[in-house]
């Protein structure tokens, strides 16, 4: 009886895992396919080749400029990661560990701002950037990703709430200033949340699609990021000659992103559940 139960249980899990992995397997298989378009009659390709990767990485044409897109996204991601992670850590520390008059009103304000759909403000931001000539530039995109990143402070605040108060008090009694407490005492203890914040803000530009599409709208493909570049390969006129290359690109960027994501998810769970238990 027990044995049967266990077999059913594992069979069911295997079934679920297959469902969840079919698209991923299809992605990998198609990226290795000798046929450049979508093979609609067979799941597995007829001929296997690494040609799509070769074309993607070394054979740049007007449609496919993957190495360029990759470098663009990498630069944007590095800069916006530096700015947004420091903003997030600064805001969350101030809101968690310091007491000042405007603390509650500011926190309420941020709750309200988070309820507006994100890209409602994009139209106005677009015009602000345009009047400074920053549309179609990577600086504009970096500013958009990092400008209001302070609003996403809640997870990190939940973490800072758990740092014991006596620790900070003791340091202050010994004459350390608030800045020193933050930089020398709390931050070194907060490695998990720093890793989480840095990785998640680094990943945002790789995952984002709409903001990049709104800002980089000139149609010059060498300016694009990976996401809009790959999306453009699926246009009706292109899909039959570029679908396999799209899959190869998908595999290539998924590898580093998955690794970072798997490192991050551990801290993601801690942040989300940890914060709410303490109310």
């Amino acid at each position: 009886m027990n044995k049967l139960n266990s077999i059913i249980r594992h069979a069911f899990l295997t079934f679920l895992a297959i469902i969840w992995l079919i698209p991923i397997i299809w992605l990998v298989c198609t990226s290795l396919s000798g046929y450049p378009g979508i093979n609609i009659s067979k799941f597995f390709p007829d001929t296997w080749t690494l040609n799509n990767y070769k074309l993607l990485l070394w054979d740049v044409d007007t449609v496919s400029q993957f190495p360029r897109w990759f470098m663009n996204t990498l630069t944007i991601a590095i800069f916006s990661c530096m700015i947004s992670s420091s903003f997030v850590l600064m805001v969350s520390y101030a809101m968690s560990c310091m007491r000042f008059n405007m603390r509650k009103p500011l926190m309420n304000l941020m709750v309200i701002l988070n309820l507006f759909p994100g890209f409602l403000s994009m139209i106005a931001v677009y015009f602000i950037l345009k009047s400074f000539n920053l549309t179609n530039s990577h600086i504009g995109l970096i500013l958009i990703y990092s400008g209001s990143s302070g609003l996403g402070y809640l997870v990190a605040k939940g973490f800072f709430d758990t740092v014991p108060v006596p620790l900070r008090e003791a340091a202050k009694l010994e004459g350390a200033s608030e800045a020193k407490v933050f930089l020398k005492i709390v931050l070194p203890l907060s490695r998990p949340i720093i890793v989480y914040t840095v990785i998640s803000s680094f990943l945002a530009p790789w995952m984002d699609f709409i903001f990049a599409k709104i800002i980089l709208n000139s149609g010059i493909s060498s300016d694009w990021t990976v996401s809009i570049g790959l999306y453009s390969m699926l246009e009706k006129t292109l899909i039959n000659s570029y679908f396999a290359r799209f899959c190869a690109g998908g595999v290539l960027i998924s590898i580093p992103i998955s690794i970072l994501f798997i490192i991050m998810q551990k801290f993601y769970v801690e942040g989300i559940t940890g914060g709410s238990v303490k109310g």
Binding site: I24, W26, A94
Partner: protein, 475 residues
């Protein structure tokens, strides 16, 4: 509210007090803001304050006033070509740009309000300094003031740049877009070639009315209902699915827990735009799933039971409104369940073991333990997350856009008239209105409505959660 009123009253009485009782330096600082600091030998602070005052005055006169003066009409001079006698050429006249007037007028008004506040606040500060010096107390040197920014006033240092960013990239743009909802900014009124102006609540009226040519009322009701249905199913299917999957994996009898978990995580670690675009082609009308379905006879079977129209040779997974809606929810489960599985795993491990043990000793079976202990505990811990994820689903752009854009075409003329589709959420509709049809006024109205829905729901949910206070139960 009372508290705020009291604070404002105190602020103004302080100012009155300072002006009446202040000495010559305080009174001088009404004219030159730095004067009060010069009087107490805080020269550097005095210079900085005076420079700030000059800059603020210059900004007001040169940038703010010209725009603010046109704010009530949003511009009157239309752009046209004028023949210039000096250069003997046709040139663009000195036209008004309505959106710039709105944007910079708004920024100007906010800046002036801030300047006036700082000006008044400065008087109070200067008066405080006077009292300090009269009592013979220590007055900070500039160096000490700077050091305070790293100590007692460290929060100002921490928050200054983040909040500058939030103001520039969220608050001001949002205010401008809220203003746009009260104008006629659309395809026929696009600056710089033409002007737009204030129209009051007309756009809000339009959202709730339906005539033969203007069908916003019809589309709005349809899309709102679908948005709420979507948000409900998207939140709860993934929530329940995630918990069940987590329990299945974390059960004592399951072997190789880590392997299973990793398999499911891989599915969500791949960026959404890759997987969703892939799945969209997977389920295309002439896609691979349709080939397989017709081979095994599923297409014909669905035809006989009437789920697929006879005229079609394929299953319209993402091209028929009803099929598409169901598919979108199912595909969203594919994306969402592993996330919830991760979160639920973390929470389930935290359930106090003695709680379950004592329930078992009392004779509870597995199902009873699930409904009486596991679920209440999960709901308690993940309650706030559930609320935020419902709101996030109302605003869930990626799934709908990437699955249906360029693929799904509506055949409903009423919806098409207002640029909507059956599968649209309010946010994707908003996006399409701005990016493809330049109908900014209606997009802003929809944005405001989305905000009202989210805000009401959040307030309601959090209130009832606080009422059912179960904090002690699990501590």
């Amino acid at each position: 509210m009372k508290n705020i009123g009291r604070k404002i009253a105190k602020f103004f009485s302080d100012i009155g007090n300072a002006v009446v009782k202040g000495d010559i330096f305080v009174k001088l600082s009404l004219l030159i803001m730095g004067a009060g600091y010069f009087g107490r030998k805080q020269y550097i602070k005095g210079i900085i304050t005076t420079i700030f005052q000059a800059a603020a005055a210059l900004f007001t006169v040169i940038v703010a006033i010209p725009y603010i003066s046109k704010f009530s009409t949003l511009g009157t001079v239309e752009r046209e070509m004028v023949f210039n006698i000096d250069t003997m050429k046709n040139e663009v006249n000195n036209y008004d740009h309505s959106f710039k007037i709105l944007l910079f007028g708004m920024i100007g008004i906010i800046a002036i309000v801030v300047f006036v506040f700082l000006y008044l606040w400065n008087i109070i500060k200067v008066r405080e300094l006077q009292i300090l010096s009269q009592r013979g107390k220590h007055i900070n040197s500039f160096r000490e003031d700077v050091r305070a920014l790293l100590n007692q006033k460290f929060h100002i240092t921490l928050l200054f740049f983040p909040f500058l960013g939030i103001t520039l990239f969220t608050i001001i743009p949002l205010l401008v877009m809220i203003m746009v909802a009260f104008t006629n900014y659309d395809q026929n009124h696009m600056p710089p070639s033409s002007l737009f102006t204030w129209v009051g609540f007309n756009n809000f009226k339009q959202l709730f009315t339906s005539t033969i040519s203007v069908t916003f009322g019809y589309s709005f009701t349809k899309i709102l209902i679908w948005t709420l249905i979507w948000a409900f199913f998207a939140t709860f299917t993934t929530y329940i699915g995630g918990i069940l999957l987590a329990m299945l994996i974390n059960d004592k009898k399951t072997k190789a827990k880590k392997l299973w978990r990793t398999l499911f995580i891989i599915a969500i670690a791949v960026p959404q735009f890759v997987t969703l675009l892939l799945v969209r082609n997977f389920f295309a009308d002439l896609g691979i799933v349709n080939t397989i379905c017709s081979k095994i006879g599923l297409t014909d079977f669905l035809k006989t039971i009437g789920l697929v129209k006879d005229s079609l040779t394929y299953i319209p997974f993402l091209s028929d409104p009803n099929w598409a809606k169901v598919m979108i929810i199912l595909i969203n489960m594919w994306i969402g369940i592993p996330y919830l599985m991760l979160i639920a795993t973390g929470v389930l491990m935290n359930i106090p073991a003695d709680l379950k043990e004592s329930a078992k000793i009392d004779g509870a079976n597995g199902i009873q333990i699930f409904f009486k202990i596991t679920m209440p505990y999960m709901l308690f811990v993940t309650g706030p997350y559930l609320v935020t994820s419902f709101v996030a689903n109302i605003n869930n752009f990626n799934v709908i856009y990437l699955l249906t854009q360029d693929v799904f075409v509506t055949h409903n003329q009423y919806l098409a008239n207002s640029n909507a589709k059956e599968t649209d959420l309010l946010v994707t509709w908003l996006y399409r209105l701005t990016q493809e049809y330049y109908n900014y006024k209606m997009a802003s109205v929809i944005g405001i409505v989305v905000f009202i829905i989210c805000a009401t729901f959040t307030l309601f949910a959090f209130n009832s959660m606080i009422k059912g206070d179960k904090e002690e139960e699990f501590q």
